[in-house]
Symmetry: C2
Subunit: 145 residues, 2 copies
DNA sequence: GCGATAACGAGACTCAATCTCATTTCATGG
DNA sequence: CCATGAAATGAGATTGAGTCTCGTTATCGC
């Protein structure tokens, strides 16, 4: 179980190691994401930071998310509503996938070792390098029955 | 193995059965998709139809795709470039998933019974209704090695 | 044919995401 | 401690996929 501040220090270590300076916007975005276990959109991040009295430019938010993505520090989640969401990516590779409720739009996280094994075997069989995978289930969440 | 014109007649049967009239734009989009085995974006459809001398309004293309989607006649494919793509959905439920090449952006289709079984077992375990699933792998295609 | 109404399409509009560029902040070494 | 060059930031303009509006056109049951 990888904790929140764990992720934050990992992020800082990776970025410092890659020679990046520090900056206010980057710290604010990382702080916010470190307190989230599931995905936020760039607009949600912008709103959340403004609400916390830490307003941050849109361009900076997208830049930070792009940088984190390039270093495999965030996971990009797309569920088909035209908005990209981002969640902390843990160094050990442990991750979850999402079920989207077609009624209320809620995101439900899950993980499944059987699914991961199947994807691993599939990747071997394909004979191409597979770096990453995304799985989205659609259905109804518990609330919407 | 479901053929192209097979899909087209299936589409017409379903839509006629649901009481929809025919119309030029709808026919043109269905004809075009029937000749494709993998996914096209709305813009690609618009361009392809114009290039074929069958120009079709953007609003109509999106309306047709939405209608086909509501009746499970097309599959919506999102690979994270901010564009939705659409491909024929076959009535038997047979389908494929996609690997996206991070270098050239190419889409490579694949299917894998083991993956489908794992998703089936997972759906049962979750205890929620799961209607649909999407899997996207990222890596390099054969050309980009 | 006629009429009711479904289907269509030009173009305005929305909004997430990107781009520009002037300003601010950082790290370093003098 | 300050000067300096580079990196980081952010306000605002811009892009472009996707949606909406509404007047026109086509379909089909009669
Ligand atoms: Zn999540
Ligand atoms: Zn996984
Ligand atoms: Zn495909
Ligand atoms: Zn499948």
């Amino acid at each position: 179980m990888t904790g929140r501040s764990d992720w934050s220090s990992h992020v800082h270590a990776v970025l410092a190691g890659a020679g990046f300076r520090r900056g206010g916007a980057r710290e604010r975005v990382i702080d916010l994401l470190a307190g989230e276990s599931c995905a936020l959109s760039a607009v949600e991040i912008e709103d959340a930071l403004r609400a916390k009295g830490r307003p941050t430019g849109r361009a900076s938010i997208y830049r930070v998310l792009e940088l984190l993505g390039e270093h495999d520090l965030v996971e990009r989640v797309e569920v088909g509503d035209g908005v990209a969401r981002f969640e902390p990516a843990h160094p050990g590779g442990e991750h979850h996938h999402h079920l989207v409720c077609d009624r209320c739009g809620r995101l439900v996280a899950f993980d499944d070792p059987g699914l991961e094994r199947a994807i691993g075997r599939l990747s071997d069989r394909l004979g191409m390098r597979v770096d990453h995978h995304e799985v989205v289930l659609r259905g109804s969440c518990e609330t919407c029955g």
